[in-house]
Symmetry: D2
């Protein structure tokens, strides 16, 4: 997906909300809650599985998780739209910061937060 496809999705989701007079519910506050609820639907699929089992989901489970990832992405796009945040730009900035915070040679194999170094 390039930025114009993400923009297309953004427009489609805006239109979807406008056609249903749902914009009134889409404050950033509310959207952050909806986003949180969708991510928890993903968590629910994995909570009793081992890490290994989570790597090898059966087909029907995978289809359900795909739907929750879609819902999560939908609310993330809506939230970024409302806050006028460019998701690609934000991620690029963050990756650069992470490359500095977590130099490969220093953090190799360790999951500690950078503040613990």
């Amino acid at each position: 997906m390039n930025n114009s496809d993400l923009n297309n999705l953004k427009q489609r989701l805006r239109q979807f909300a406008e056609e249903r007079d749902w914009e009134q519910f889409h404050s950033p506050k509310n959207l952050s809650m909806a986003l949180s609820a969708e991510v928890a639907e993903i968590i629910e699929h994995f909570q009793w599985l081992t890490e290994e089992q989570s790597n090898t989901l059966p087909k029907d489970k995978l289809k359900e998780v795909e739907t929750e990832l879609a819902d999560t992405f939908i609310y993330l796009i809506r939230l970024a739209d409302k806050l006028n945040i460019d998701l690609f730009e934000a991620v690029n900035k963050k990756i650069k910061q992470n490359e500095i915070k977590y130099p490969a040679d220093k953090v190799w194999g360790s999951a500690k937060k950078y503040t613990e170094y």
Copy 2:
């Protein structure tokens, strides 16, 4: 459909994890937890604000929220990658389903779930 920038991000994030020997921590189970933790960082910014205040964040707050959206998107991309799920495709499927579940004329102005109709 041009998926190249999202694929670029996906590759960069894979490489970032490999360079640091972090793949060992990136089971879908763990990634769903990390995703959940990042979304909660967004929630924290809005929990004591009114919906109106969430619409008009000061510049410095907006910058912080931008970082959390980036972290959220990063873990979403990693999780989709591990599960071999195409985010763009998943969202397109979901929007179509939603257009059927929530016909505009039926749900106009109401936030009820479709099961409540």
Copy 3:
């Protein structure tokens, strides 16, 4: 300090899990995920409501939210049990710390974090 009803609940929930051979799933890691999923069920009830509406829930909604609070408390008790943490003691310690971090005269009417003072 009388801790007996919380201890009763703790014992009942242990027994419930043992009778079903569910202890194998109840690592603290897994229980934190289950706790997170239940809290999100609460969030779902409030995400499209205004703060005012959340103060005046209709009877049927209130019954549903009561169930999610129960589920949340159940997993919190299980998690504390597994980590050998005394919830009552933990809260008492935290309230004392909060009384120092947030002196009433200093924070009156403001939702800022203590680091922002």
Copy 4:
């Protein structure tokens, strides 16, 4: 903790909020968000650990997790208070329902949801 100790905590937390003029922020909607943010702080401690490691936390980590459990319990008590829900009563009701939904002989050793039987 018996119900009068839980009531004591409830009163203390009410007073704590009133002394700071924080009641204005404590709608159930907002409290559900704060509760969600605290649970995510627990998740953060476990996300890169294996289930086994989560069973054997070092002393300093355990102390940190104890604090997050305290914060979680605090917001749960506040939320129940605002909704006039009795947490002990709610849990007792739920345990009874669970005993019916999940008969020990039927679900022994399986983490499936009751709808999957």
